[in-house]
Symmetry: C2
Subunit: 237 residues, 2 copies
């Protein structure tokens, strides 16, 4: 696995194939300094919609990553594939059964150099992903840290994805996670509705992911990206 690629990522946009976006908007996202564009969502993700997004991202020369949420929508040709593993899911289907089904069908053909497993901790109980996976959403920091240790120390997954999905998270919890994580790259997603929030969470996460804001306030979404040669931290100082 290409860990140096991962560590170069400070910011990513996530496009949901099930939500409307114009070609012009995709072009604008691709012309920012964001590290890559993720294509993926929880509900209603199809092959055709995912492929359409890939084609447009390709056209503008940006790195394109598919986050796999259902088997039927896996599109060949992405630069990388992220495979979510929800460590606080309680429905066995969404813990390892989907992976089993995927590897039964495609296991022989996977190029593992293109694949990164994301250890997801779902932290917003009202989100679609929490409901779908029947996630047991922690209410205490010590529970969150134990999940982080499963991802980072026990399984040594390349990515620990702290997912607040639509809700802005607790920066103190992120800070506590950062302090114990030794191996995994920390991704943060959820409620990044301004540049300041991106700056705040980037103190504790290696990579900030902006999704909903693209569909809710496009101009502000564009502004969450750090400017070339200037990291969030430098701006903040």
């Amino acid at each position: 696995m290409n860990h140096s690629f991962l560590s170069s990522l400070k910011h990513m946009f996530k496009l949901d194939p099930n939500r409307p976006i114009t070609e012009n908007q995709i072009e604008q996202l691709c012309h920012t300094e964001t590290g890559a564009i993720i294509v993926g969502g929880t509900l209603g993700v199809t092959y055709e919609d995912s492929q359409a997004l890939l084609k447009q991202i390709r056209m503008h020369g940006k790195i394109a990553i598919q986050e796999i949420s259902n088997l039927q929508a896996i599109v060949p040709g992405f630069d990388y594939y992220f495979i979510p593993l929800v460590v606080n899911a309680q429905d066995p289907k969404w813990i390892l059964n989907v992976h089993h089904e995927a590897l039964k069908r495609y296991g022989e053909w996977v190029n593992w150099n293109q694949v990164f497993v994301e250890g997801y901790i779902i932290l917003n109980e009202d989100s679609s992903v929490a409901k779908l996976t029947k996630s047991k959403v922690p209410t205490e920091l010590e529970d969150v840290l134990a999940y982080a240790r499963i991802v980072d120390q026990m399984l040594r997954l390349p990515i620990l994805y702290v997912e607040y999905s639509g809700k802005y998270g607790n920066p103190d919890w992120l800070k506590a996670i950062q302090q114990i994580v030794e191996y995994s790259q920390i991704f943060y997603g959820g409620g990044i509705h301004s540049y300041e929030k991106a700056v705040e969470m980037s103190q504790y996460a290696h990579t900030i992911i902006v999704g909903n804001l693209i569909y809710e306030d496009f101009p502000t979404a564009l502004k969450t990206v750090p400017v070339k040669g200037v990291s969030y931290t430098q701006i903040e100082e």
Copy 2:
């Protein structure tokens, strides 16, 4: 993680703290060329019984490994700890919830250099462990191989434990597993009731584990260990 330790293991005995064994028998096991002695079982494992076994193994200078099956029975002082992760379990408690509970309680104190995660595939549906974890036991080779890929390629766990628990497995399946596994050390356990069976499975597994036979036919159990300087393969040729 000390992978060179793992790769040195051709054979191990597994002692169940819940089953009777004499001090003299433990001494005899320790004086064989077995690589290490695992202490662990599925039901009725207590701290006291596990500690008693550790003391006796220590007395004879053998490497002692605890395979953790319940939190109350974790005994400090073992050389290594194996943490099972049953990839075909269907009860979320036995997939990752027990690990979460363990890391919530002990996460801060774990020395990860002593710990190896075992990706278990349970292949005997009549075994206690299959019933406890509600394992979905594969009946087709392609399902077994998909689980093997989860352990080896997706999660890159140090150990892939092919567990027939009490029943002798299908050597053709083991051979097929060996052919696709690239990273994990393959452990085989189940129905090794003779030296010949140990030889047969050692063609396809890195490490053979003998458990039940210790309690059922002690003299034959002793004879499953390869002799010093002579690997199974050499003997077979």
